[in-house]
Symmetry: D2
Subunit: 502 residues, 4 copies
Amino acid sequence: MISVPADPTGRFSEAWRQCVGTGRVELALRRDYQDSLSLLQREIGFRLIRGHGLLSDGMGVYRPYEHEGAHRVHHSFTYVDQVLDAYLETGIRPFLELGFMPAALASGEQTVFWWRGNVTPPRSPREWADLVRATLIHLIDRYGLDEVRTWPVEVWNEPNLRDFWQDADETAYHRLYEITAHTVKEVDAGLQVGGPAISPGADDWLDRFAEFTERRDVPVDFVSKHAYTSGPAQHVPFGVHQALAPASDLLDQFATPRERLKSTALARLPLHITEFNSSYRPDNPIHDTAFHAAYLAPVLAHGGDLVDSFSYWTFSDMFEEAGVPTALFHGGFGLLTHRQVKKPTYHLYAFMARMGPDLLARGDDHLVTRHADGRIAVLAWAPVDPTGQTPGPGRHALRMSLPVAAREVFVRRSTVDENHGNAYTTWRHMGSPRSPRLEQLDILHEAAEPARSHRRLTVQEGRAGLDLTLARHEITLVELTPVADETPPWWDEQRLLGRSAP
Amino acid sequence: MISVPADPTGRFSEAWRQCVGTGRVELALRRDYQDSLSLLQREIGFRLIRGHGLLSDGMGVYRPYEHEGAHRVHHSFTYVDQVLDAYLETGIRPFLELGFMPAALASGEQTVFWWRGNVTPPRSPREWADLVRATLIHLIDRYGLDEVRTWPVEVWNEPNLRDFWQDADETAYHRLYEITAHTVKEVDAGLQVGGPAISPGADDWLDRFAEFTERRDVPVDFVSKHAYTSGPAQHVPFGVHQALAPASDLLDQFATPRERLKSTALARLPLHITEFNSSYRPDNPIHDTAFHAAYLAPVLAHGGDLVDSFSYWTFSDMFEEAGVPTALFHGGFGLLTHRQVKKPTYHLYAFMARMGPDLLARGDDHLVTRHADGRIAVLAWAPVDPTGQTPGPGRHALRMSLPVAAREVFVRRSTVDENHGNAYTTWRHMGSPRSPRLEQLDILHEAAEPARSHRRLTVQEGRAGLDLTLARHEITLVELTPVADETPPWWDEQRLLGRSAP
Amino acid sequence: MISVPADPTGRFSEAWRQCVGTGRVELALRRDYQDSLSLLQREIGFRLIRGHGLLSDGMGVYRPYEHEGAHRVHHSFTYVDQVLDAYLETGIRPFLELGFMPAALASGEQTVFWWRGNVTPPRSPREWADLVRATLIHLIDRYGLDEVRTWPVEVWNEPNLRDFWQDADETAYHRLYEITAHTVKEVDAGLQVGGPAISPGADDWLDRFAEFTERRDVPVDFVSKHAYTSGPAQHVPFGVHQALAPASDLLDQFATPRERLKSTALARLPLHITEFNSSYRPDNPIHDTAFHAAYLAPVLAHGGDLVDSFSYWTFSDMFEEAGVPTALFHGGFGLLTHRQVKKPTYHLYAFMARMGPDLLARGDDHLVTRHADGRIAVLAWAPVDPTGQTPGPGRHALRMSLPVAAREVFVRRSTVDENHGNAYTTWRHMGSPRSPRLEQLDILHEAAEPARSHRRLTVQEGRAGLDLTLARHEITLVELTPVADETPPWWDEQRLLGRSAP
Amino acid sequence: MISVPADPTGRFSEAWRQCVGTGRVELALRRDYQDSLSLLQREIGFRLIRGHGLLSDGMGVYRPYEHEGAHRVHHSFTYVDQVLDAYLETGIRPFLELGFMPAALASGEQTVFWWRGNVTPPRSPREWADLVRATLIHLIDRYGLDEVRTWPVEVWNEPNLRDFWQDADETAYHRLYEITAHTVKEVDAGLQVGGPAISPGADDWLDRFAEFTERRDVPVDFVSKHAYTSGPAQHVPFGVHQALAPASDLLDQFATPRERLKSTALARLPLHITEFNSSYRPDNPIHDTAFHAAYLAPVLAHGGDLVDSFSYWTFSDMFEEAGVPTALFHGGFGLLTHRQVKKPTYHLYAFMARMGPDLLARGDDHLVTRHADGRIAVLAWAPVDPTGQTPGPGRHALRMSLPVAAREVFVRRSTVDENHGNAYTTWRHMGSPRSPRLEQLDILHEAAEPARSHRRLTVQEGRAGLDLTLARHEITLVELTPVADETPPWWDEQRLLGRSAP
């Protein structure tokens, strides 16, 4: 029996909703992407969005030309503006990741991903600085300085990996960071710049990043890194299977930078996990499952104690790093599939968005919060086995005693498990249609909604007792609202036909 | 075990969707009404809509004035056009009921309803004819003759009741019918005119209507009457309780006119039940319940064998005959409450709208149809006790063997009972809030959706076996679609984390 | 030549947009009304809306009933909530006018208007107070105290007229005000209550209202009155013609209360003109004309110097005090006709909504303001002859020198006159169709848009010269925006085909 | 004086709206594209849409993989379905152009355009046939055979040009056509297949295409070619200038195939101009001008006499063959810019969409049609000088006598010229902002609307006289509707204030 105290133990952090990841920003031009983002913002509401490729060729920004015999560069923002207008229209702001390299400015030809982002250093640092400068000046001109100061600027992505930065050349990254950070600050000292956006397992880069920036007096406003927990990949066509480390491993990855940097000049800076997920593969079917929501629930419940933001990679399956998806469910990162079918992990975020600001209790399988109006929101989740050795427990019970200042509460429970709020299961029943017809999509949308139940509960001595039994891989949201009964005195429910006999 | 034949026994009649009732047509100017109608038409799709008061003062049609010393009448269609434009915009057409009497054209002051419809004969039959003629000419001018010929014209409402027609004066009604029918036909012989729109228990009026119209050679294109099954009213403030006759009594009421008129000139005319419901009271809470859906299910399944249309009275709780409703759930006729909360009977109609054109089987508790693409739609319902003596059975089981030309079927079940698809029950849990807040309305909308489940069923020897257990007052829709399995050969579901152990 | 100074002379008051009038609040349930209000709020943006009949029978608030032998009253807010939800959804708040009397609470049978608002005192002052109290408590419960404190509460409407208050009984009004004001303050001392909402020509009521409330220590938070300028009515069927006093007479009517009350306890209170217009008749065609916009332009430009708000009566032709309108253009008060056709006076308000906060210059025919970003907005209007003796001047010229901190300005001019932005003129050309068909409505919507022209103007020595010639009854908006020319150096417009020859 | 006869000379062909061009079909995933297409279909309504790249890598259709040691190909339609669903949603159908070559199926590496469409023959004709077959079978499965039979299938694009087909190898094209056409017909004999989609100046390919297909008995259901009139390009950065041949040259290009093929087996087949425009360059500013609309007007008026369809290349500036556009107006082909600003040529099409089915008169500067309801629609245009030698005439006058069966007509004139309906001119006044801010876009949308004027004209002896004076590069639409005057007898317009003095 969990006895939840009536007095809050503190404010519940909103770090979980500070940022969300996206496929390359060019994809933001697409309608499916925008439809998904609108839905996401209406029902969850993230503050920032971060993706690759802002400066890649598909965005058409860096445009060399020749005129009267001279070589010049035009910086063009046709698509950048369409993307950012769309973001702001849905109430989300960009976490600006500067990269990758425009082909015409690149020093080499190495690319990453199906869509071929160039990952080589600029052939001209001056022209890179011009590009950064022109971009920021344009953004300030169009969106206003106050607005753009709220958009963090991150320099490159995972430079510690050879796939993302030629030769994983740390010195070259430091040079890129230095020129970029100075350029940002020259445009406006109030803009926030940071890095090094490293992938997991490379925290030693943080030490040297701290040392380098301090020694050279390079501006740093925040520190960023990524976190993933997947093991070795076993490939099948258009897909992959991987075991996972326990979810606590993600929290460990969140925690290390502060410890590591505590005696450096970066010690007190905001720390952003600018990407996290279980598997780093966009074709691992685990992303589509209820298991995944239950696996990540404790990370969302506890992560805000460790970092200033942790950004789920990514909000939508409109994502092409490994090519165009070949089926509706294909193991994409998305909280939403193409066509806006919600996955269980979407609901985890939607449930989080209904938590209140006061933290009442928290544990391995639950989170209890309260809203200003007295409403209590409980998130509970079943334990999972990430090793694949067992299917995990088939049932998981919790009992809680909740403090309520009323005689009765209305209880709304929202359930996601293997058979509820789970379009993937229904899609399998349908025969795994790769490209579902419109009438099948209607059914998938319907199947993707959580099961809901509603009842009334009596409060005794200021306490409501809540007995929850969770099914395998279930996440559940329970909301308790005090009842003000308006039933008129003359009402006799038993007089309704079909109620109990006279 | 119901063994459903593979060959259809005939076409399933769409008489159930030919027409639906509405509160007085002036209410069609309201947004809540139009929002409800749009939803209704999107999800169900009726062909015609019928309500009172087209010519009543609130519509502002009959407008006497004085000019240069002469008394004249202007016929004004400002609101008529707004209403009809709104109807056509949602794909529904008017079943024109001519009435009630404009106060300035009335011979007396008797009114009916809170909104005071004048129910006295015209003081000038000539001016009444002018009004009818001007109205129809205007409609043809605005909407086209081909269109208006599809709009039946019914003369008055329930003239056999003193509340609706002064003194229930049958001779006066015949006079009104005669002048009106001739006027309609003068405008265009292709317009359809009919009556006498009588209330239950007055079928003798039909005999005399047939005799009168034949004798005087008065045009009649259809015959209309109403059907209700409620017993004596027990009043509470803002409400009433009544026992009901069995649902079969409605079917009996549908059946009598054809029998009665079989040797008259009206024998082969279309027969329209222009109003039907259980209780004729707009404040009987039975209308809000799952009981009501289960009670009416056999009427919708069988009624089309007896009549050309039977029109549910009414689609929305936006209805003011007994005054402005005092609570969201107040026993109104509506399939939808104010604010578009769906009642169980709404779902009965929505389920009917998913039936196919081929009738495979039908019984006391089920209806089985098939679509052209092979999809089978089954509607099943639990028996109810309309007397109030018992609550009705708590469980009801059906077993069916269904003919399927595939090896597997995808099964989608939609359930409405006391605890699912039942916003009334949730509203009671909430404390019966008379005027729910927006966040409460969100929950009621959610609670009003049927429970859905999805699974896959194996077919053996061309037969799928369906075992259904219905809860108290349940109506259930089961849809079976052949599965074309696209699962790729390399897929092994067991390799997903959280599936069975290795 | 008007030489506009570069430094503002002050802030330009937004009193003109503090409030707008509406037909009885029950009409807010209608879709046409809500469509008009949405448009209005999107393009103009008023803060408050005031109309009659909040407590009249059509709203269904006061509901007596009998239970167990006792007479009781239920206060029901079904429609009140629908109306207020709709208001808040469009960003407007209610200016609550308490009235008229529910029939069941009235002491007499006298009614006003086609829709029959009861204008007699309550038969029970205690029950009236209960009604007021229950209403305010409900509103606070639903919308929150902070919100409701921003909704002024006005007691009754034009009690000085026999049509609106039985016998224009001043003592009875004072009694009503006293009990109402005390009840309001008992609910919450922060609510704002005021009156006496008198019609023009009765300012002596203000003296006695001040005297009475001071003597009896009755709370008053604001003072309200109405202003109209029309002369005697000449009737035609469904219409009326009237000469008008000059527009300055409206400003005089605004000005008198402060002068009159300056030595009373009410001296420093906010002063609200809770209704104003030219004619007080809802069937005077002058409301539909360009004349009317030009007539009222100086009132909007200057009125904010005199009062805290002045509320145009009314925003929409959805209005039934004289019955249901018989034609699209019928002389209604509305800024918008049914079906959202904009009248010239709508554009006057839309032009006002584009004025800036800094007042640069103002005169008999112009108003010049500046926005924070340097954009200058000029409103100019032609003089009119309100006597009907002459058609007014056919042309009116203005020359201005405007201060601009740029080398060039982009000039956008929006024109409304007899032939532009004037759907009434087009409707006349069409043959005055009373109930236009949908394709005619499309053309009327198109004709209702102002003519727009755009050009570029060179600035010399910090000054742009603006020569305006206004047509008869023209109002014109001129907006000047500094140009940042991005034409690339290689561009030669003359090389376009169809430009001047080589 | 053009005396227009009362009796039609024939039906006016709708060939002009049979088809419209688009940038590569992958762009159809974008929101801006879909917003433009929705607008286009709402206001104009084309039947078919044709673009490149259906099978190119960006669509992700051809997906080789390895499984259990074998090389296989998966055909994936994730994006194809998203595109076609979007098309059908707006009421337009695809004109399927089969191309370009998936990189993994290509025999070489040559690409065309910034977006790199591979233009080499398939390395395996069998796999190409598999790809075509799988695509058509999938489309039939998803959209139905009846639907897909209305979608013409064209084999490749401009194979006569080395840029579009490696070496412009005619024999290789014939082989590709042969295998493709047979594959199409194997899927269903009712599908329509055709080619050779040649560019201008290569009509000799038609002779050999006829000869080859007849000799080898290869199915051909239609013949297609392209038409353009631009001369040599003079380059500026991100743009080009070109003189044009007269518009009649386009009509000549339309006319030649029928003549050429008249004695071949292809003689009676439908002839589709699957692309036409003035300049074939997506960066020629002429596309943005009023000149362009006036230049093309006679082509739209007369083209339907010569061919079955002629498809404007292209409907939107969302087009990337020469890279991402660097400014809102950049000389793109689009009828609409990004962000849905209408160009003059858009209005030419919108005016065409208001022509009636009966052709009354047609000439060098006018087209006169009548609708079934008697409404007359006149399109008139000013002559232009396409050589660039002169700006063309500054004024152009037409006088017409029109047959009208009424005493008066309502006249609506819609004008597009250098200063009206011309956002390009306004954009130049604004300073040519490359990426206009939202408030600038509002003004451009407003400036893009045609000027409208409305008046009433008296008819004498069944004739209305229309005097039109066109400005430079004007196109004008005049619509005449018989007036039914409903002005009431008592109405005296002169009594309105502001009309003439008494």
